[in-house]
Symmetry: C2
Subunit: 349 residues, 2 copies
């Protein structure tokens, strides 16, 4: 059973063909499990494949067949647990389908996004899943990816000409409904002065969540003070820093719907610094249900978005589109679920 040592040059189809005295075409048929080849021949070829340690060259096959076996996954912030979970979900499904994931991380820079997209395009992905950086422009993205490769927009809308990108599929969270549910829940707890805290107006998800909040407030006949709408960078640090602003107006809020969990956890710290105990003196809700939300003090009422499931869904959507590009583009809104925990207490008496 002389094993061929793993030396420099790679083993190709021709080596196998030569090794067991058949044509390259036959070996190729064996590789693809064609029923055409004789049982006995197949066995001989398979033995030779093992013996020489053959590795299929998918790039060569893709070139010849004009196919692709990769999907590009471009994320604005891979380090964010939400997107990490999302990526894990995407990769899970793609892996099972024989596709490989081409990863690209843009660190929220539109410039880098374009660079990453063009670089990935050169590898000819069958499709692209893109969670755009803040401020991404539809026209520019289109010119980077070309009109041919299917693209699924995740999580955020892009700015600019709608016509430029109206053939892209979309997968968004139900931001508006989520924020409305959170707001309604706080109203149900008896709050009347409710703020919307954090996030960037530059991002579509923030605008949508604000819209849900406004909708609920309006429906309940509650008014909103300007000082209750505070923007901040959606991370814990800036959320602490900006929390003062909530209390600058004439009347202080008794509760806040926060842009996301990170912001909510930051606000908790800010409240502590003011001598307020979140979940007793002040109610708040988050968005995302990150791992930490369940175990913070107090545990955070928030909206579960199940990013891993979203990743799986995104992969399935793009695969469908790759399989059949003809149906009209589809926009999918994924539901979110309100998880009530101790942070959303009733107002102090």
């Amino acid at each position: 059973m002389g094993n061929i040592p793993p030396v420099g040059r790679k083993v190709t189809l021709s080596d196998i063909a030569a090794g067991c005295d058949v044509s390259r075409a036959t070996v190729s048929l064996v590789l693809r499990g064609s029923p055409l080849v004789n049982k006995h021949t197949r066995a001989r070829v398979e033995e030779e494949l093992r013996r020489q340690g053959y590795v299929y060259n998918r790039a060569a096959a893709n070139l010849r067949r004009r196919t692709s076996s990769s999907i590009a996954l471009v994320l604005n912030d891979l380090a964010n647990p939400f997107f990490a979970e999302f990526a894990a979900g995407v990769d899970e499904v793609l892996g099972d389908t024989g596709f490989v994931t081409l990863l690209g991380s843009t660190s929220e820079s539109t410039e880098r996004e374009l660079a990453v997209l063009s670089s990935l395009m050169e590898h000819g992905p069958a499709g692209i899943i893109l969670s755009p950086a803040e401020g991404s422009d539809a026209q520019q993205i289109l010119s980077a990816v070309g009109g041919v490769t299917p693209l699924l927009l995740f999580n955020r809308e892009v700015s600019g000409d709608v016509a430029a990108c109206d053939h892209w599929d979309r997968l968004f969270l139900d931001n508006q409904r989520g924020a409305r549910l959170a707001t309604e829940h706080l109203i149900g707890q008896g709050h009347k002065r409710i703020a919307f805290y954090g996030g960037h107006l530059g991002s579509s998800s923030c605008r949508q969540r604000r819209a849900g909040y406004t909708e609920a407030m309006k429906a309940a006949g509650l008014s909103v003070e300007p000082s209750w709408m505070v923007e901040c960078i959606p991370n814990r640090l800036d959320a602490v820093a900006q929390s003062e602003q909530l209390f600058q107006g004439k009347t202080a809020p008794t509760a806040a719907v926060c842009y996301n969990d990170a912001v909510a956890l930051g606000l908790m710290l800010g409240l502590h610094q003011r001598g307020l105990q979140p979940g007793r003196d002040f109610a708040l809700t988050g968005f995302d249900d990150i791992a930490e939300a369940a175990v913070s003090a107090p545990p955070l009422t928030t909206l579960a978005v199940t990013p891993r499931d979203r990743g799986r869904q995104a992969a399935e959507l793009i695969l469908q589109r790759v399989k059949d590009p003809s149906p009209p583009p589809r926009q999918t809104i994924a539901p979110v679920q309100l998880l009530v925990r101790a942070s959303s207490c009733p107002p102090p008496a």
Copy 2:
């Protein structure tokens, strides 16, 4: 300026050549910025490239040149923020170098790891960065990746025949020193009965951290009760569940060095349930410095491992190896830094 509409078929070198009446070879030279081509010709070709919206086909080029422009990144748990940060660091460097990241996530399953590795190998990566699943076998991994492609082992050792894989590069955290530092710090605070809590003996990082702990205890002449060495799945949930075990022995510990931050945060909850307040009645330390560690209640003393820097470093190491495979394999031990916070209080008086 008639723009060619973005129709089905992809634009190739030949289309450009035909479009401006030069040979394919010339276009190829232009693409690669060769100084051979005449300035005037170059301009004409470049104009045509733009006009037709040409996209370089790197797969075809790689096939011809027998090169590769991708690096495989295979992680045992992408959803873990530690690895997500790591991946972001890897991708950052690779992106800057013109390489593309092929992602593979194994969900801590050795079976899936082998499947993912073989699938990625078919795309002919120039190198592989592997953070193995628990229980991975060197021999099996070797047979999946072949002896040719450079591999960098990250974070964990693999079991089995050392000779099988002694030509792999390695990048590990200084687990032993980290745990020793944490233990010494607790000893310095006055603790004598210190436990080592959590982790799986199946993983080499856990064994190394235990070794550091044991080393420090021995050096200080402190003895260790068997009931102070508790295993658990390294997540918050199981850490809560197993925390009872710490107090089953004759003498209860007053402090614990935890396998990692997740475990430490779980133990905090377990302590609360026993009526003990962590950071006052019981001291503990973590490992990793996840975002949450700085803001837990109390803030967690832990070891910073800067996963993003590790990712960058891993990318650089594998790129070096790809560039020149000849130097002998190298093992790199990345330093960790003790961050003292409120959780590591002195023992109660």
